[in-house]
Structure formats: C-alpha cells, structure tokens
C-alpha cells in the first residue's frame, strides 16, 4: 500500500484498529488507548515510505502503538515509575474482566463453585503477573494475552526472536513458581485458621 491512498488506508485502519487498541490497552494506555492508536495510525501513514512492502503491516503498526504507549507515561519520571503506572492501568482490567459475568451465567452449585475457583485463580495469576519484572511481563502480554506469535512479539517489542523465546521460558517458570508459593501460603493460612 502506498501513501496517498486514503481510502485504502481507511480500510487498513478498520481492520487493524481493534488489535491495536487492545495492544495499547494491555501495554498500559488505559483510557487513552484509542487516542494512542489514532496517533499511531497517523504516524504509520506518515512513515509508510519506510514500511517495507511485503512485510506484515500488523506487527509494524503494533510496534508504533507500543512505543506510543510508552511515551504516554513519559511524564511519570523514572522507568520503574512509568512501568508501575502502566501496569496499574492493566491489572484491574485483567482481574475484573468477564469473571463476574461467568459466575452469574453458571447455574448449578458445582458450576458456581467452579466459577469461584476460576475467579480466585485468575486474581492470583494477575497478582503474579504484577510481580513479574516488566520485560518478562511484556513478552507474556504480547505472546499470550494478546495472542501474537513469537515473530510478532519480537517485532512489537523490538527484541530478537531468541530473546523473546528465552524470556518467555523464564517468565513461565517464574510465574509457575510464584503461583505455587502463593498457593502454599494460602494453604498454610487456612490450616492455621482451622487449627
């Protein structure tokens, strides 16, 4: 696609906007996700000359979205503060989600118990994600929460594919260990209370 073809670009916007807004949201743009994506589309249009014909448009666009999202928290100061701010936007969204709806939809008692357990697991998972170092959380977010493939994840985060692979591996191991530890803690507390 060439610059100077607004109609074709509008079609492109329509096609990729939902994934782009989702990416901005999951990377911490919060209420500004749509603004971020609009701006990203304008920038992408402007940079179409630099976009290599034949390569996938989506990862290229999402990379711009990811950068714009980072810029959003620029005023928060130090990197740690910026990253914390970004995660603050995401955590409630993930912890809330459709859990309530799922619980309401379940009728039988078994279903209700299951829904409760699922909601608990979900809250624990979000908490564990929050404890993950940002580079690891980012690859998990792109690869699994957003459902991008490894190449796309690498493109969006601007990291080599090997780095993405190794970070994913370590992130999953860390999450697993964290969840197990949290679970043990909870179990111990319950035992103490009962005793």
């Amino acid at each position: 696609m060439r610059r100077g073809d607004p109609d074709a670009y509008a079609a492109l916007v329509r096609r990729h906007a939902p994934a782009a807004v989702r990416t901005a949201t999951f990377l911490g743009a919060g209420a500004d996700a749509e603004d971020v994506v609009q701006e990203a589309f304008v920038k992408a249009y402007r940079a179409l000359d630099r976009y290599r014909e034949g390569s996938a448009f989506r990862p290229w666009l999402l990379r711009i979205v990811a950068n714009e999202t980072r810029n959003l928290h620029r005023s928060a100061g130090r990197r740690a503060a910026r990253e914390a701010k970004a995660w603050e936007q995401v955590a409630p969204l993930l912890a809330g989600g459709r859990a309530g709806a799922a619980a309401a939809a379940s009728t039988g008692r078994d279903d209700a118990a299951e829904a409760l357990e699922a909601a608990e697991r979900r809250v624990a998972l979000v908490a564990a994600l929050g404890r993950l170092a940002t580079p690891y959380r980012e690859v998990v977010t792109c690869r699994y929460l957003l459902g991008l493939d490894e190449d796309e994840t690498a493109a969006v985060l601007g990291r080599p594919r090997g780095t993405v692979k190794s970070r994913l591996h370590r992130a999953l191991r860390a999450l697993e260990a964290d969840l197990r530890a949290a679970d043990d803690d909870r179990y111990r507390q319950e035992v103490t209370h009962d005793g």
Partner: protein, 263 residues
C-alpha cells in the same frame, strides 16, 4: 529443550483465557474519521513547525490537549496555506502532545542547501536585565557559558541569547509558554531526538522560520531561513537552539542548560 507450551500447558491456557476474557471493541466510524482528519492535517499543505498559541497542559490532560492542539493545528495550517499558496503536498504533524503546542509539518519543496547564520542578538541587555523583562527565569547552557548577546522581543515573550563561536553564531531562543504567536517553518528532515530524556525535534535541513501574529496571520517580513535547529521544552518554556551544530553537539549543549540564579 521441550517447547515451553508443553511444559506449562495449564499456565499458558490460563494466560490465553485471561487475555480473551477482556472484550475486544470494534472501532466506530468516528474513530476512523478522526484518523482521517489527523492524516488530512498531516497530508495537507505547506510545512509548518510552529509554536502555536496554546498553553501547554499537564500531560494527564492529554486527551483534552490533543483536541485543542488539533484545533490550533488546523488554524495554523489554514493560515499558512493561504499565505504561502503552496499546493497540497504530504506533510507531517509531529508528536503534538505534551510539547507546548509545537507543530511540525514537512514539505518536500526544494530547500536551499545552506542557510545564513542566525542573526546575532546585539548585546543591549545583561542577563539580569533580561530576566526582569521576561515572564520566566532565563536558562543558559553551561556548555556555552555567558552569552555574547542578550535580547528580549518587543512583546517580552522571547528571550534570545547568542554566542559567537569558532563555528559561527549560535542562537538560543527561549519562548514563554503563554505565547500568542508562533514560529512557523517549512521543513524537511525533521527528526525526533531526546534531550535529557525529554522529547525534542531536530531540524537537519535549512527551513523557513515565519512568525505568526496573535490572530494567526503570518508576518511574512519576519520569515528567514534557519539552519540546524533543536527544539525542546523545559518546564513551561520552549527552547530553540540554532547554529552550525551537529545533532549530537546540539543535544549535548541542550543537556547542559541550567537556570540562572536570580540576582
């Protein structure tokens, strides 16, 4: 090594489910239109880099600011279009947000390959005197030392410092935030850089500098060709460094800017 998916099947499934539990929203027509408007503003006409008459808002007002800046952009573009009567070409609005209403548009018109040195500011004032006149605390780059020339614009909104160096004149304009006119430029080759971690713009090519009047009209007689220029923001003041500097040199100078101590 086993595939990560095999080892952590349950966890991966939970993560995917977690992601999917957050609903995806399709965008509406208004969204597409706003992108189109953004592109139209960008893809419109002459190239302008202006410090438009918009007071910078705190970054958390981003949404409101973006709309306001967009309005300002439209106005400035229209005016400059009329004044320059340049046929529509593609151009670019740079990052408009959190940047004191600076707006940049590129114009692929052939620009002269060299620009005259920036005008020197005759030393009518001392820094302390200038500080009395402008509504902000003047700042001086330590890398350049005491300026050779100090001047304040008639409306007291722009402080210009100059240094005579081995590489010619270096000019630093400091523009108060409550600015009701703008520098407008025709520019090619605008680059994004950072000064001490903050967003900045680098103009590698000679470009036209035009001053906009409060009513948005262009003061043509003020148009002049500018050389290498770095624009960044420092608190409520927009800084503009111009001279025969490389990008790295300009950024290095900009990063040594320190406020003068009030006498």
């Amino acid at each position: 090594m086993a595939d990560v998916h095999d080892v952590h099947d349950g966890l991966v499934a939970d993560l995917v489910a977690l992601g999917r539990s957050v609903p995806s929203r399709p965008v509406d027509d208004a969204f597409v239109r706003r992108v189109a408007d953004g592109i139209a503003a960008v893809d419109g006409v002459a190239a302008v880099d202006g410090v438009a008459g918009v007071s910078p808002a705190p970054p958390h007002h981003r949404r409101a600011l973006s709309r306001r800046v967009q309005a300002a952009v439209a106005a400035v573009v229209a005016v400059v279009v009329g004044a320059l009567a340049v046929p529509p070409v593609r151009a670019a609005v740079a990052d408009l947000f959190g940047f004191g209403g600076v707006l940049v548009r590129e114009e692929p018109v052939p620009a002269p390959s060299t620009a005259p040195p920036p005008p020197g500011a005759p030393s009518h004032l001392t820094l302390a005197q200038a500080a009395e006149l402008v509504p902000f605390r003047p700042a001086v780059p330590e890398a350049l030392g005491d300026p050779d020339g100090v001047e304040v614009s008639a409306d007291r909104r722009v402080l210009s410092l100059t240094w005579e160096t081995d590489d010619g004149t270096v000019l630093l304009d400091q523009i108060g935030a409550r600015l009701d006119y703008a520098f407008a430029k025709s520019a090619t080759g605008v680059e994004f850089v950072t000064v001490a971690g903050n967003f900045a713009l680098w103009f590698a090519q000679p470009h036209e500098v035009v001053v906009l009047e409060p009513d948005g009209t262009v003061r043509r007689e003020t148009a002049r060709l500018a050389g290498h220029t770095l624009i960044w923001e420092r608190g409520q003041v927009t800084m503009r460094l111009e001279g025969d500097l490389t990008r790295a040199e300009a950024v290095a100078v900009a990063e040594t800017v320190a406020e003068t101590v009030a006498d």
